[in-house]
């Protein structure tokens, strides 16, 4: 085994780990009154380094490292870059909305780096136990981050709720791994696929599959495992929500793709109907739930449930196009959602002063830039052309239709019609007249980090919507790493759905 090459394959993780540790080490040496923001910039540098290392990996020959537990391939690189990008933007958002006096800021930035390490591990691991370890690292970091506002009542509540339900879900996930190990005698993802055919106890594997779906369904907040989402999003600080509504989800979707298409493609007759229902329920419950929300963060929580449903639609396609569509949608969702939360966290601040839709009235007149950016992201979330949101939706439903899921496409797109209503409620509020003595006048001016975050997300959303070819190409290269999709696709169109 070539050690120097192996190191390269986990270089982004190493950089992030070192950065996180460095922040923890430096922090005690700073005087208590010193601003911790410099540590944030250190974290930004670290994440930038990880991003560059991830981009470098794209030129690396695909292969495994460390006894075959890591795999670098276009698929993993795709998600590496995505996750690093999200973490970068969310750090910038945090730098914007926190103040010098926010307590524990050093830990905040360190935890963000450690969490990112876990998420990266999840996407490149091809060994279920390593996936589990990555999942734990990322989850524990986000549990702590979710409860970061210790002084507010909702902060600890959100953290506890997230932690309890989250640990349950990880337990399910672990149990699923154990059952699959029982059925096949291995936890290496690609070996499972090979051994499943000759397995003595296929039923065990099916139950294991169900457990894994429950565990990951929780992480991506698919219905019926979504109940925690609105409360946690409401209670957690907005910069954290920007991170946890996108990056861990992207990682969880990557794992789900790996497991379903890499390990269990032969069980598709079992999991396609389950995913079909998860998708339909998530889209419908998410959108209907969002209709009645008055709080922007809760509204976006329900919207994120619905978007998880859209991504799950692509899973049913059983084709390379489906995998590419799911990956692509994850990127475009991340871009627009992080963008929305950039504005939300700036308007509301770290302690959520303004969160009601009513509060947003007149934002566009207070700051045309913030209002315009927010409206733009909302329009992308609706799925209006020339934005990433539209192309993602288009691609997902196109993949589903290609595999014969007409009803899934009809339900999904009808859902996106409903969704337009609540996004527009926010967008029109932004552009309507602010009432007298509206608190919107107290929104501070945009800072440099925020401008950078908005620049990244707006540019990504526009590129994904207008010239999606390049990113689509990478997503397809990632999808091509799954040999199963070409072999098992055709006969499974599940007629009659």
């Amino acid at each position: 085994m070539n050690t120097s090459l192996s190191i390269l394959r986990i270089l982004p993780e190493v950089i992030l780990c070192v950065t996180g540790a460095l922040i923890m080490l430096v922090e005690p040496f700073l005087a208590p009154t010193t601003s911790r923001k410099s540590l944030g910039w250190l974290a930004v540098l670290g994440v930038l380094g990880a991003l560059v290392a991830s981009l470098y990996q794209y030129q690396l020959a695909p292969g495994t490292a460390y006894f075959g537990v890591f795999q670098t391939d276009p698929f993993s690189v795709f998600f590496y870059v995505l996750i690093c990008g999200i973490v970068l933007a969310s750090l910038l958002i945090a730098l914007d909305s926190t103040s010098d006096s926010t307590s524990g800021l050093g830990e905040y930035f360190a935890l963000a780096c450690f969490g990112a390490t876990g998420m990266l591990l999840m996407t490149s691991a091809v060994e279920l136990l390593l996936v589990f370890i990555g999942l734990e690292i990322s989850s524990i970091s986000t549990y702590i981050l979710a409860g970061f506002r210790r002084k507010s009542a909702k902060g600890p509540e959100a953290a506890i709720k997230y932690f309890l339900l989250g640990s349950f879900a990880t337990a399910f996930f672990l149990y699923g791994i154990a059952l699959i190990f029982g059925a096949t005698g291995t936890t290496a993802i690609y070996d499972i696929a090979a051994k499943l055919g000759s397995s003595q106890m296929p039923l065990l594997a099916v139950i294991g599959l169900g457990m894994i779906l429950i565990g990951l369904g929780f992480k991506v907040s698919a219905v019926p495992f979504q109940v925690w989402t609105p409360d946690v999003y409401e209670g957690a600080p907005s910069p954290v929500v920007a991170l946890m509504s996108t990056a861990p989800k992207a990682a969880a979707f990557a794992v789900l793709l790996r497991i379903l298409y890499g390990a269990l493609p032969t069980l598709h007759a079992h999991w396609v109907p389950i995913v079909w229902w998860l998708a339909v329920l998530s889209m419908t419950v998410g959108n209907l739930g969002a209709l009645r929300q008055k709080n922007v963060k809760r509204l976006l929580a329900y919207s994120s449930i619905a978007h998880a449903g859209y991504i799950l639609v692509a899973f049913t396609a059983l084709s390379a196009d489906g995998i590419a569509a799911a990956s692509f949608y994850t990127v475009s969702y991340a871009a627009m959602n992080v963008g929305v939360f950039a504005v939300v966290s700036h308007v509301g601040g770290f302690d959520d002063r303004l969160t009601l839709i009513e509060d947003y009235r007149g934002l566009a007149w207070r700051s045309p830039l913030l209002g315009g950016a927010m409206a733009f992201f909302l329009i992308s979330l609706i799925g209006i052309p020339f934005t990433g949101g539209f192309f993602g939706k288009f691609y997902v439903f196109s993949a589903a239709l290609h595999s014969g899921f007409i009803w899934l496409a009809v339900i999904g797109l009808a859902n996106s019609g409903i969704a337009a209503f609540y996004y527009l409620r926010v967008a029109t509020a932004i552009y309507s007249k602010a009432p007298e003595s509206s608190p919107i006048a107290s929104v501070p001016r945009a800072t440099v980090p925020l401008l950078f975050a908005l620049l990244i997300t707006v540019a990504a959303t526009l590129i994904l919507g207008i010239v999606p070819g390049k990113i689509l190409g990478v997503a397809k290269a990632g999808a091509a790493t799954y040999p199963s999709v070409n072999a098992s696709a055709p006969e499974t169109t599940a007629a009659g759905r």
Partner: protein, 502 residues
């Protein structure tokens, strides 16, 4: 050289202008002048089309066809034919008029207004020139956004609510329309309109007839909402009332009618025939309903909206008659409606600028004070009624004569709509401009039309006259555009009829 890229230029010059608007200062009339210049350039570019249009040449002209995304196979395919050419020119023309009409009305938030105004021009021209279904859909959806935002900002009473209503009315059917497009793509592997048309006519065995029926229905509903066709007109009245005049001018009519002609008749001739009886009935109901409701209005702006509903229903009637005359008339009337409707809205806007109300009961005897404005009102009203030598007559006559055969009773009923139209228009003129002067008018003196307003109104009035007497100039291209539709629908019908006989 210019001919190669003219459509791209005409489509995206407004967007470039909009980006500059975002950077210009909000000082004096800088934004107005800049937008006017951009609109004039756009209009000039669209005029290139009729100047270089090759009559008698089948297929699309000024085509541009490049790969946009390799897989899925999306192309950047633009082109015009007789069907779309004049609509593009009309859009360019109305954008100039729109700027002039908003010159003083829009005082605050000018930057937002002109930014979205120009974006709207791109979306509308894009709809007319796109020949790739995906590209078309992009422009179609894009056309909702600036409109909705401007309604939300400028709506005098319930802007945000109306914007929501307008958006959802159009967006939800469009979602199903997208399913239909994707389904066609899954079956044929192409979004290109020309290739789709070929696949649908030559390879019809590929498609189950029931499935095609649903697909055609999804298309039709999405377009019918936008026209609007009765009973999908729920958004129209509020939108016209709340939207700024320059946007209300373009919100209804041409986009939807063009799309029905291009896509429903072009791609699904047989299915469109199946829908025809229903659509003709709905059109006639729309004509009568719109006219009756217009008669009952006390608010000038709402009267315009119902007059529009009635007038647009005439176009639908013409389209679904499937006769050459009817189709010609429908497209011609679409252009007419664009002109007269705009003229009407601008005039109403000018009146509101002076007196601050749309309530007709407040007015009376205005002709003595504003004789020139009264003249323009009368000309517009007469054009809308369909007086010979004005443009409305040509369109209405063609539609009614073209659809008479086979639908005698419906057309007879529609003719009543013409009479009702005359009634509400003339009554409106009488209430506002004649009779004793109301105390409200006496107490609030206002000047007659001024220079800028003439610049907006005179070209429209002239066009209404010219289009009434020199219609062949326009008909030439229109006839070429629709004759293929009339043929294709008869051909398919005869072939299915033969198949049924066998």
């Amino acid at each position: 050289m210019l001919t190669d890229s003219i459509l791209t230029l005409a489509t995206f010059v407004p967007t470039a202008g909009a980006i500059v608007v975002a950077l210009l200062p909000r000082k004096g009339k800088v934004l107005q002048w800049w937008t006017l210049i951009v609109s004039l350039i756009t209009f000039g570019l669209t005029l290139h089309l009729p100047a270089h249009f090759a009559y008698g040449q089948p297929g699309y002209q000024f085509e541009q066809n490049h790969v946009w995304v390799v897989s899925p196979a999306i192309r950047y395919h633009l082109g015009v034919d007789g069907l779309s050419m004049w609509l593009v020119v009309l859009t360019g023309f109305l954008s100039v008029i729109g700027v002039l009409a908003s010159w003083n009305v829009i005082e605050k938030r000018t930057k937002e207004f002109y930014f979205f105004f120009l974006l709207q021009q791109t979306a509308m021209i894009g709809v007319f020139v796109a020949l790739d279904m995906f590209l078309y859909y992009c422009f179609w959806e894009l056309s909702l956004v600036p409109m909705a935002i401007l309604i939300a900002i400028f709506g005098p009473e319930r802007g945000p609510k109306t914007a929501l209503k307008f958006f959802c009315y159009t967006f939800i059917p469009s979602a199903l329309f997208l399913v239909a497009i994707l389904w066609l793509y899954a079956k044929t592997g192409t979004f290109d309109y020309v290739e789709l048309q070929r696949a649908l006519t030559t390879n019809s065995a590929l498609f189950a007839p029931e499935a095609l029926w649903w697909v055609a229905l999804a298309f039709l509903v999405a377009f019918a909402v936008k026209v609007p066709v009765f009973p999908l007109h729920g958004w129209l009245s509020d939108t016209i009332y709340e939207a700024p005049s320059a946007m209300a001018m373009v919100v209804a009519g041409k986009l939807g009618l063009y799309s029905i002609l291009r896509f429903n008749l072009g791609l699904f001739p047989a299915q469109s025939r199946m829908f025809a009886p229903l659509m003709i009935a709905l059109a006639v109901i729309g004509i009568l309903y719109g006219a009756c409701v217009a008669l009952a209005q006390t608010n000038l702006r709402r009267l315009v909206s119902y007059a529009m509903l009635s007038a647009l229903s005439f176009c639908v009637l013409g389209i679904f008659s499937f006769s050459l005359a009817g189709l010609n008339g429908a497209l011609y009337q679409t252009l007419n409606e664009g002109l007269t409707g705009s003229s009407f809205l601008i005039l109403v806007g000018f009146l509101h600028e002076r007196y601050g109300t749309y309530e007709m009961s407040q007015y009376g005897g205005l002709a003595a004070r504003l004789p020139n404005m009264a003249t323009f009102y009368v000309i517009t009203a007469l054009a809308l009624i369909g007086l010979p030598i004005l443009n409305g007559f040509v369109g209405e006559f063609l539609i009614l004569s073209g659809s008479f055969a086979g639908h005698e009773r419906w057309v007879a009923a529609a003719t009543i709509g013409v009479i009702l139209g005359a009634a509400y228009m003339l009554w409106m003129i009488q209430r506002i401009f004649y009779g004793p002067q109301s105390s409200f008018v006496t107490n609030s003196p206002a000047p007659d039309l001024v220079g800028r307003e003439y610049v907006a109104l005179v070209p429209i009035a002239l066009l209404m006259l010219v289009m009434g007497v020199a219609s062949p100039y326009w008909m030439h291209a229109i006839n070429e555009g629709v004759s293929s539709l009339a043929n294709s629908s008869t051909q398919t019908v005869t072939s299915t009829a033969i198949a049924e006989k066998r």
